[in-house]
Amino acid sequence: MPRPYECVKVLLHLFMNSQNQQHNTIPTERLKQSRFGNLGDSIFYSSTLIFATSVLVATLLIGFQLIKTSWPAIQHFGWRFLFTSTWDPVHQIYGAWPYIWGTLASSLLALILAVPVAIGTAIFLVELSPKWLRGVLSFMVELLAAVPSVVYGLWGIFVLIPVLQKIQGGIALSKLSVLPIFAGAPTGYSMMAGALVLSIMILPIITAVTRDVIANVPATQREAAFGLGSTHWEAVKGPILRSARSGIMGAVILGLARALGETMAITMVIGNGKDASLSLLAPANTLASILANQFAEASGLQLPSLMYIALVLFGVAIIVNAIARLLLWNMSRGMKHA
């Protein structure tokens, strides 16, 4: 049983290495010569360099501006801001924990719901689907990405929430309601609604990128796997997913980034509660959504506190991306050593 599998791995590594070498040797020499030798090239080089650094500069400026505008709140609340749960504009007491919790929980739940579906869809599209269906399905998935987020929000209010009210009503009457994740009144506007809407919103990007990554797995690997007698399932779970996994991880990160920053749709369905609750049935809130809700009419210390919220969101995005990169790096290292 493990034999053909091992062979495919060896083949895969041979291929990867040869590809890497090709990549490393030839073009760099030529680039170094031409970088300073030719006016057109040097203009090309410096202009692309400027474009690339402008991204970095913009990010740094955003961070700087956020720290500057949130400084009164940082001085006043310090680190406590991150771990306290009161948000009271009347008495000017602010804490971000329910929003941090809501953002992380809703995004992770959305990923848990969306990733298996997205990967399954992508595998079907590339490996198994008949040609005529492939076009239609791909188009549908891309169409999902083009729907504005306010439309998802309205769909959430008018379609999803009435359905959830019935389901949650059933849960509340059953024995499940003793579990902390099913505590509370079944109003529909809840963490569950937020996570479901988010999962549909991040589905297209994860599916589309995963599909392209899988489609780009060299045909030779597929052929090798089939040649060694793998079934379709074995070929997919072995060489294909294996060489695509760092790309799939990238797709998941893109989806996660979208989920963390999503504002309009989630604020319409999550209930904008004030507590960090374990319950899927309870209203929750997110960093992006409190920003959107309170920014326009904020006064006093509320404005710096909202900027502090923005800074926290910025930080959460950076940390989540860093963790994802670390996983990715670990994964690709693991693959080389295997």
């Binding site: 504009p89 109003t187 529909g188 319409m268 004030k274 209203p283 809700n293 326009a296 009419e297 904020a298």
Partner: protein, 342 residues
């Protein structure tokens, strides 16, 4: 590629020329304003009608009350608009003495979703405060039943809806709750956004309306103008004189008239829970903000003429849009304020 500098120069000159011409072509008699979104429907009709009458253009940007106050503070606009009065702390930060002129009044409606109920629900301030404090959680609570003798109320829970965004509507509603319930005043207080003890937050009037429409047993507060357009069931509230009053344009004007004495002392005085047999208890003005000393006589005159028109002829346009016109007594107070503009 060879770039034709001459051509760029020519185009640049042309563009600057066009911009200058456009600037000159704009009529001298134009005013700019920004602020509250709540009165925007009636304001935009005013500005239209006023333009037809006098050819003075008023550009109004409905950016929200907070922005209206900011814009007048930084003097980027001729006047600002706010649903909540500017308090003393903020007034101190203004570069000059600011006048706050009530233009129309509005009411906040308690809407609910009880499909079986035929007669309007009756509520009073303390019961409403207890619902929003989370102390009354079921519709058949003794306090609600006592207010509605002979009405069979369902045993279902109350789904409480409130605004999630900062808004003048929340300010009016919470100032009413603070007025009728010491406990609310102490625990929660009055503000454009507060720390709601219970409930689901909806963004904007439409968000709260969505919560109410989607959830049987829901109760929430929305603007009268919005509720009237969207056919909600709404509650009659017990007023200071001891009558149950349904929200209406007339009952809102009555609340403003009933507050005249308070308003004489301070034009910013709250008109919630006002005196008067027919006064609806959750009412408030929306204000235009203008400096007493505008620093420009022509502009001052333009503003004065417009404001005088708005508080007299303009008032007729309010009712069809479900805004409450000012009572005679408040128009007179406004006239005194407008005289001071120079």
């Amino acid at each position: 590629m060879k770039i034709d500098c001459n051509l760029i120069f020519k185009w640049g000159v042309a563009l600057v020329g066009i911009a200058t011409l456009a600037g000159c072509a704009a009529p001298q008699n134009s005013l700019t304003a920004a602020g509250a979104t709540f009165p925007y429907p009636v304001y935009s009709q005013w500005f239209d009608a006023y333009h037809t009458k006098t050819s003075t253009t008023i550009n109004y940007q409905p950016m929200g009350s907070g922005a209206g106050v900011q814009q007048i503070k930084s003097r980027t606009m001729d006047f600002g608009a706010s649903d909540t009065p500017v308090d003393d702390a903020q007034l101190k930060t203004m570069p000059k003495k600011l006048l706050q002129i009530p233009t129309v009044a509005g009411a906040v409606v308690i809407a609910y979703n009880l499909p079986g109920l035929k007669t309007p629900l009756k509520l009073d301030g303390p019961a409403l405060a207890d619902i929003y404090l989370g102390k009354i959680t079921k519709w058949n609570d003794a306090k609600i039943s006592a207010l509605n003798p002979g009405v069979v109320l369902p045993k279902i829970g109350i789904v409480v809806g409130h605004r999630s965004d900062g808004s003048g509507t929340s300010y009016i509603f919470t100032s009413y709750l603070s007025d009728v319930s010491p406990e609310w005043d102490k625990k929660v207080g009055t503000g454009k956004s507060v720390s709601w003890p219970v409930g689901i937050g909806g963004k904007g009037n439409s968000g709260v309306a969505g919560v109410i429409k989607q959830s049987p047993g829901a109760l929430g507060y929305i603007e009268l103008a919005y509720a009237a357009q969207n056919k909600f069931q709404y509650a009659a509230l017990l007023n200071a004189a001891g009558n149950f009053v349904l929200p209406s344009v007339e009952a809102t004007t009555a609340a403003a008239a009933g507050s005249t004495e308070k308003l004489k002392k301070d034009i910013r005085a709250s008109i919630v829970n006002a005196a008067g047999e027919q006064s609806y208890p959750i009412a408030s003005f929306t204000y235009l903000l203008v400096y007493e000393d505008t620093g420009n006589v022509t502009k001052a005159n333009e503003i004065k003429v417009f404001l005088r028109w708005a508080i007299t002829d303009g008032q007729k346009m309010a009712k069809p849009l479900n805004y409450a016109p000012l009572p005679e007594s408040v128009v007179r107070l406004d006239e005194k304020l407008i005289k001071r503009i120079h």
